[in-house]
Symmetry: C4
Subunit: 430 residues, 4 copies
């Protein structure tokens, strides 16, 4: 039996700790307190030769546990892993809610994020695994043998020489169709300008109207040629893709699909366009989809790790960005309305100039252009109240630019550190 | 009795430390120095069998204390909690002012902020606790039973199906009144434009004047309908709120209250408006308060933690932002004045064009628009001196955008780390 | 004598380390290697009963030193203080150049900065110490007794009620003179506009000329009144300042001094101004110095710590900012020249419009306004080459805004951490 | 032989660890598991008197290894060096892939970067080493003796008084030629303006044409004088440079070389210019190369460490910046096209004003100016759809400014920490 000022020896993982029994009695009901009870020798492993209790636990954290009994404050070493601390405290029957506030930040909080990152990693590998899975089915049909190879030729530009050539050809066609698109806008602008002249001078119409289909027919033929190639490429990729559903979910493939239509529609509706010139313009505008094909270049460039982390970060804070954009929209409405009434109320009755705006929508437009600090200068406040509104809008705009920076930065840094660690681990395993 | 080169054994928490007596005599007057005195054996706990002094303290920090005697410099381990260090040093009778400057930053400085954050947390929970407190009074009156339920329906959109429906209805009314507000501006603009024509051509007045009340009477009726709903909602929420004072302190409720008036006033003063058209415009401008109701949408969206931390950070650096805005105001005055005199002095006597400005206030306006890099271009320097002023203003403006970033970032990071830790702790307790 | 696979015991500060003699022989010439030599027992303190060498050193770092012998790589624990490591390595006769590169960043590099910060701290306290030094001289003359009190009244607005009143009065006078300054600009503008009319219509001169001294004579009287107060205040402060040299080195006092002249000069040269109107304008422009008096408000506000750190950081990176501004100047010259030649060479021969610019200086002005993303729009490129130049300038401008951010941030964070630590230490000492 | 609940003692570097044999059997096949096998006493060093196995390894990390057996999770202390951990785990025959995810970030990841920085450091020293290498050849020819001295005079402005003087003279010449360049643009503008008059009024030609060679012949002579000096300087530096290839690879030297030609060409083609005025303008535009000589000033200023790190960081993220600029280019194309069709489709048929743009290229120009938030205001959307496009472009532009900040910051911080550490190490070695 041990008294008040009697000492007790604890052998935790080979390291001897020594303390007073009274110290251990500070927190009744915990395992360490029970060691001071009379029948403890039989309950816990007690070596009567060295007069020590033996526990097969980490010695380092036990130092902090023992200090908790001595000072009544539970601290932990720097950068402790949360799970380690929890396990150790559970063993000693201490609640982790006792941890001092100053040590909350010392806990290693990075358990969650790696999971997210694993998910991300897997998405990237999904394609390859898809191929492997199919390989393992081992049905030696024609399709089963050729599908992965053709898929690789179309999708993995660095996999073989043929794939490289195809990627270059495809790239040239994309650049080509963008140039054709730009050239066609000229013909469309002329057509449109001519069309407007119709409204005023109804006679000159047909002469101006014609150019659209006669000046640039070779453009349409070139475009058709490109689109035929795209049709071939898309159908090949669609046929030989390992997973049709996934294929159609990819926005780039949807763009590829949509970009096939404008030309065919134009060919079949040539006569309608002659009558309804706006239709031609609509068909032209749909061709903006060709530009989106430029995003496929990103497949040819090996994106650096840091940019992949960047895009992942952007995705992860999408919700926050949306809320900030809603805030911006609200500011636009608010400052726009203030500007509208400010200008109307403040203007001098003898003012004879033009008011620049005739609508509150124009005021909203002005507010947004001021908030983003673009400041075209097409609408300018004339009255003092309007100028004060503009000044406030400019200052709020400046703040709005600054506000998302810390969010972005904090998230990015966390993800980047994980990505670098994962890359190192991967490299060291190879 | 121990001599100069004699060794002394110290058993601190079970770990044996060994040093020379001469080392301990480095700092006279401290507890460790006194151990070397002849009658120390009787004053401190001395085990004559092992020839050790025993102290029931942390062994880790004692290593640093002992090194202080050896090297005369007091260091501490990385990320030491301030309170732990202070307690330990107090036990060994060493002043914490002795800590080497290189270790100041190692101290864990996060004690204060958690308190602030606790306060913030409690504000959020206040509503719920209010309810609970009232529940505990247990006066089974009609009001006592129904009040929390009705309050929850109006204030907690996710609490029940009824609350959800009410939130959607309320949201539709808010969007409705914003659309009505925008439509009314058109009528007001026509009214105002017509009104101005009065000044010049006094006859056309009444014909143009009329539209305001005849073109859009259905708008006023729709608005009245919305405001009736708001009146009902506000009175219900006011009647059944758990704390009237707190309710009225909330700016959103003040906005709700103010938004009830414009329509009623307009109905009662219709005749006065016919005579004093500016009054109509003033009543219109007061309706900007409807837009502020849009901020209530924030209650429907569950704000992510990171944005709550952001808004808390913004509140905590409000004072710094104000001082920086004062700095901006000073720069506006300074560059505006420089621009005014620069343009006047530098302009060539034979200049016949328009000077763009007639007032120093316009120069201040120009300076602010340049400092915020909006740059409308309505006022432009003509002289070299004015252009140099503009260039300086633009550069200072750029710097002014950059300057608050670090303040914002440093504070945000600190709060975010605490918030994440608190959230983790909360989750682990559940 | 010890052989190859024989073990050696080292008692470092009470902790027993055990290793092979062969391990210690890895680095010949070091103290630990010499322990394996035959006559080591007599050279170092050897306890033949426990067969241990005893060293009165830190046990923690010795673990790393011993690992250096085992693995041939010298590492160190996280956040080690540089001075501690150096002292320990010197004792064991190991060069600190052996530290592995991965551990360079673990060294605590914050020794220098605290000194800088101490310096900064002392500057702030200098005034008070000045007073104390004078107090200690104990010459009970009239001046010696009153000087500190009067100085405190004028310079320390929070020291007494009288000082507070004086500060408020002084502030009102400053705001007053700024308003007077703004009012005077109106008279000056009229005067200037009238003066210009002289050039074209020589008869109307005198009628327009007069207003300057007749319309606003009360302004001049008010200004004189304010300046009389400033004269009184400045002379008092100059007489009773504890250190005349330091007083005159403070830019705010120089501004105070300069702001006394314009009014007196105007009064004495009234007749000359009547003849040389430009002189009046020059005297007006010198009054911009009144605005600088607004900076004295900063004395009345207790600046938060974070802003003091901010201004200290800005001072410390002044040289870097200057070099970046030189870079901006170079970009201005370069893009301005490119724009000049691009527009001239690219313009179509049949172009009949106005070229917007007649000088390369205007092109430099354009370049700077584009680089700072202000973009007034007064000068706009017409040719494709000019537009490409403008686009490049805009992108470089964007980058120029971003580039100084990290410098600023890194420095600010370092200083802020030190400032917070110092503040905590100061508070804990009180 | 040891049983299930039997304990085992491990003496690792002098520190005794104690655990159950069953604990060690958790991971079969590892070295620690084999200790529990019957013949372990003969395989590993076993001291039968103390009943301990002895291992000459680090005791600190062994604590974590033992905890791995106890808890089945492998953790590591904060900021562990990767190489240390790997070596230790290899000794205990544990795979480092077992490391818990929460500890990935604790690994010290800074091994790679120092190598990069070493490379950078060496580049800087290359010149000096070049000199030293040549010195060591010890061929006492005239060139061998004088080459280093002359090279130092021309290239190292701080090496001697002569070098300083030469640097100042060279600087004056550079500033001189920049001023001359600016002056010449005036003559060229007049010449150009006159030339344009030719097109419209063919008679006035020769009178206006002449000024170019008669008004400013002294400028050409001054320019010739400067260029003669540059020719001398360049030839000296080329003759005495230690490595010709390296010399020509330096872009600054290429600029020096190119800047010699314009004057000589102009002198030899004076007559052709008289006939082909555009040639004169082309020769003028080539002189922009003079401005690039201003970059040589950077050699005279000792760049602060922080700016050298900045430029190194910029170089290291060049690829990321390029990809972001490609993204910006894509956004330009996309928003430009949207704007083009949006304006054409949305415009009201009765619109009679000017459309601002006649080409899709102008729309791309507008898009870029809006994305960079310059916003000249020369092209402004008239239709609602165009305004929405502009608003989106402005918001995307704002985001584009913010996106590269974190990349830049993260890289900069890493490099700066290394640079500071290296500098400290260098200083401590001196
Ligand atoms: K602008
Ligand atoms: K702008």
């Amino acid at each position: 039996m041990e008294g008040a000022k009697e000492k007790i020896n604890l052998n935790v993982g080979g390291i001897r700790h020594e303390t007073y029994c009274s110290t251990l009695r500070t927190f009744p009901g915990t395992k360490l307190c029970r060691l001071t009870e009379p029948h403890a020798h039989s309950m816990y492993e007690y070596d009567s030769s060295t007069k020590e209790f033996f526990f097969d636990r980490s010695a380092e954290l036990f130092g902090y546990v023992l200090n908790y009994y001595r000072t009544k404050h539970l601290h932990c070493p720097a950068d402790t892993c949360r799970s380690v601390l929890e396990e150790e405290l559970a063993f000693w029957e201490i609640s982790d809610a006792q941890l001092a506030p100053c040590c909350w930040l010392k806990l290693n909080n990075k358990e969650r994020q790696p999971e997210e990152f694993n998910m991300w990693d897997e998405n990237e590998l999904a394609d390859d695994q898809c191929l492997i899975v199919q390989m393992e089915r081992r049905d030696f049909s024609w399709r089963a043998r050729w599908q992965p190879k053709i898929w690789a030729i179309f999708e993995k530009p660095y996999s073989s020489l043929g794939a490289k050539c195809l990627a270059v050809v495809s790239l040239l066609f994309i650049i080509g169709i963008v140039i054709i698109f730009c050239e066609e806008t000229k013909a469309q602008f002329d057509f449109f300008a001519g069309n407007f002249t119709i409204v005023s001078h109804s006679e000159v119409t047909h002469i101006v109207h014609e150019p659209y289909y006669h000046q640039a027919p070779y453009l349409l033929h070139l475009e058709l040629f490109c689109v035929l190639w795209f049709t071939f490429e898309f159908s090949m990729r669609f046929c030989f893709c390992p997973d049709k559903k996934k294929f159609l979910k990819n926005p780039l493939n949807v763009v590829d699909f949509l970009s096939l239509f404008p030309v065919y529609i134009e060919l079949f509706t040539a006569k309608q366009i002659q009558k309804m010139p706006t239709l031609g313009l609509w068909l032209g505008s749909v061709r903006v989809v060709y530009l989106l094909k430029l995003l496929k270049i990103s497949k040819l460039i090996e994106t650096p790790l840091i940019l992949r982390v960047l895009s992942y970060t952007l995705k992860s804070i999408l919700r926050e960005i949306c809320i900030l954009l809603m805030m911006l929209a609200f500011e636009t409405l608010f400052f726009g309305s203030l500007f509208f009434y400010g200008e109307l109320l403040g203007i001098h009755p003898s003012f004879t100039g033009d008011l620049h705006f005739t609508d509150i929508l124009i005021c909203f437009w002005w507010a947004l252009i001021t908030l983003t600090t673009v400041g075209y200068g097409d609408i300018i406040p004339f009255t003092t109240f309007g100028q004060v509104t503009a000044a406030l809008a400019a200052i709020f705009g400046m703040l709005t630019i600054i506000i998302p920076i810390p969010i972005f930065l904090v998230k990015f840094k966390g993800y980047y550190a994980i990505a670098i660690s994962k890359q190192k681990l991967k490299m060291s395993r190879k």
